[in-house]
């Protein structure tokens, strides 16, 4: 392709917590320092820093990236923030890639941070200002409506039951029991999910991931440099991102076309023709249980409406042929918006190196895909990693 090969060589993250004492800066530092320590590098070795952090309204700090810059190691370094709402985390992973692939820099530190607990009375209220101020917010628009609409349409068009979708929540929360940073790992049943409080039908409380505080950091290096730092570099094989229309009435919610476009961009770069066969592990974005299925279809890991069959057949369990969200995902670990996306990339990184501890997927996975989604429910960001 004419661009340099880039690898991820180190990773670090904080616990995902409902409320952290650390300020956003301190969270960013804790994750970034851990990432550098994990590959034996110091701040001097870092040429540039990219930051991913979602709405300023969560931390209630305007110009959040500037505020976080010293904690992210960006003092007197080239520094830029990417923002794509919930899609930010995986976009940051792509952003760091092209800093190095372009030949401009050799080592890049990618940091994603979120401190949602600062937003009161509830972080969900921060979305109040993201709707169209004329045609949408006067109706008292709530974020949950969008998810409920999408879930309803997806379920109705494909004829999938709420009980079956609840299995995703059960799987991911259980997977997260083995993640040391998880906020809401638990051993629950489908009945627990079905009996939980209905917030906006068909969305129930246990269908939803919690709001979190947390930070994740990854260290990227160009090929020659990566090989000196570690003997287990994880290569970035493909990146993709795509946006769809803001006007919710103009796209059909049952299928995320924009995720498919982003995925095709990444797969083309990686030379993948049959993702359902060539991808060993996947981390589709799962802020809600049905989203894992919805996004996995967008990632072309199966046909439309077929994700539920793979789940029911056990294919997507950690011991299955193609585990989805072995980390526990947002549903189990927590959803610190931007940090969640990067947490999924970090998970693929650790899995491909065989360093995921109790979460390790058997069989030496060689290729993984991580995906994030969000913004005004219309962005898909995808990264393919391989060894």
């Amino acid at each position: 392709m004419g661009m340099r090969r880039v690898a991820i060589v180190g990773a670090g993250m904080t616990k995902f917590m409902r409320r952290a004492q650390e300020t956003g800066k301190e969270l960013a530092w804790e994750a970034a320092k851990m990432a550098l320590d994990s590959c034996g590098l110091t701040l001097k070795d870092v040429d540039c820093v990219v930051m991913g952090t979602a709405p300023d309204a969560f931390d209630m700090i305007h110009m959040k990236a500037e505020y976080l810059s010293d904690g992210a190691g960006a003092w007197r370094k080239p520094y830029v923030r990417g923002f794509l709402g919930g899609g930010t985390g995986v976009f940051t992973a792509c952003h760091a890639w092209y800093h190095i692939a372009s030949g401009l820099f050799d080592v890049c530190l990618a940091v994603a941070e979120e401190k949602m607990s600062s937003c009161m009375p509830h972080p969900q209220g921060a979305f109040f200002t993201c709707w169209d101020q004329f045609t949408e917010s006067p109706l008292g628009t709530s974020l949950l409506w969008f998810f409920a609409w999408e879930m309803n349409r997806y379920m109705t068009i494909h004829g999938i039951s709420e009980r079956d979708i609840a299995l995703v929540s059960v799987k991911n929360k259980k997977n997260a029991l083995d993640h040391p940073c998880a906020q809401v790992a638990a051993d629950i049943t489908v009945d627990d999910v079905m009996n939980s409080e209905v917030m906006a039908w068909p969305v129930k409380r246990l269908d939803v991931s919690p709001t979190s505080d947390g930070a994740v950091a990854l260290v990227y290096a160009a090929e020659e440099v990566a090989k000196r730092i570690t003997d287990k570099p994880v290569w970035v094989e493909g990146v993709g991102w795509c946006l769809d229309t803001m006007y919710i009435g103009q796209r059909d919610l049952y299928y995320p076309k924009y995720v498919e476009y982003a995925a095709r961009m990444a797969y083309r770069m990686a030379g993948i023709k049959e993702p359902d066969k060539e991808i060993d592990i996947a981390e589709p974005y799962d802020p809600f249980d049905y989203k894992e299925l919805h996004n996995a279809e967008g990632l072309l890991l199966c046909g439309k409406g077929e994700a539920i069959k793979l789940l029911l057949d056990g294919v997507t369990q950690r011991t299955g042929r193609q585990p989805w969200c072995p980390s526990g995902g947002a549903l189990g670990v927590g959803n610190a918006i931007a940090a969640t996306g990067l947490m999924k990339v970090a998970e693929i990184f650790w899995q491909l190196r065989g360093e995921a501890g109790k979460r390790q997927v058997p069989g030496k996975p060689r290729r993984g895909v991580a995906q994030a989604w969000g913004d005004e429910m219309q962005v898909g960001t995808v990264i393919v990693l391989g060894t």
Partner: protein, 170 residues
């Protein structure tokens, strides 16, 4: 990674830590007010709503209707070709029954927000609320009609339509 590291950074707090002021914190209440201009497209859209009509625009190149009315087509990136009046009836594309509001507080009477495909637009939907119906009877594909505020109460806003109710068709 996991095996070697014993302590993961992060200091979680509980609600009691805040209630009993075990840790220090600061509160800020923003007082930011805005005055937005609606623009040309929405300006006409709302002026028509005040008159009890729904208007969109049409792009002839892409052969589609834009709703709410806008003056440029984002697909082919040119100005639209004409204004087009639409009906105030439609089909439910998707809906939800909401028991919590935008702040995540519980509400007594559930709301039924929905995306309603407006007749005449070839399937373009707008966001609104459904009313005057038992929530359990709402279905995707249901036909609905707008219930308008009386003329004197309309202000030129999306709320000039109070909600949409089931349409009885012969």
């Amino acid at each position: 990674m996991s095996e070697k590291i014993k302590v993961w950074p992060g200091t979680p707090l509980t609600d009691e830590d805040f209630a009993e002021k075990r840790i220090l914190y600061t509160v800020w209440e923003p007082n930011l007010k805005y005055a937005w201009d609606t623009g040309i497209g929405y300006g006409r859209y709302f002026a028509e709503l005040k008159k009890g009509k729904i208007i969109g625009t049409r792009c002839n190149k892409c052969r589609r209707v834009l709703l709410p009315a806008r003056v440029f087509c984002e697909w082919c990136f040119r100005t639209v070709d004409e204004w087009v009046y639409l009906k105030d009836t439609g089909t439910v594309n998707t809906f939800s029954i909401a028991y919590t509001d935008w702040k995540a507080d519980r509400i007594k009477e559930p709301q039924i927000p929905a995306l309603i495909e407006i007749d005449g637009s070839d399937g373009v939907a707008i966001m609104h609320l459904i009313g005057e119906v038992d929530p359990q009877k709402v279905k995707i594909g249901m036909r609905v009609k707008a219930v308008w505020k009386p003329e004197e109460e309309r202000e030129g806003a999306i709320t000039d339509i109070k909600y949409w109710k089931p349409l009885e068709e012969e």
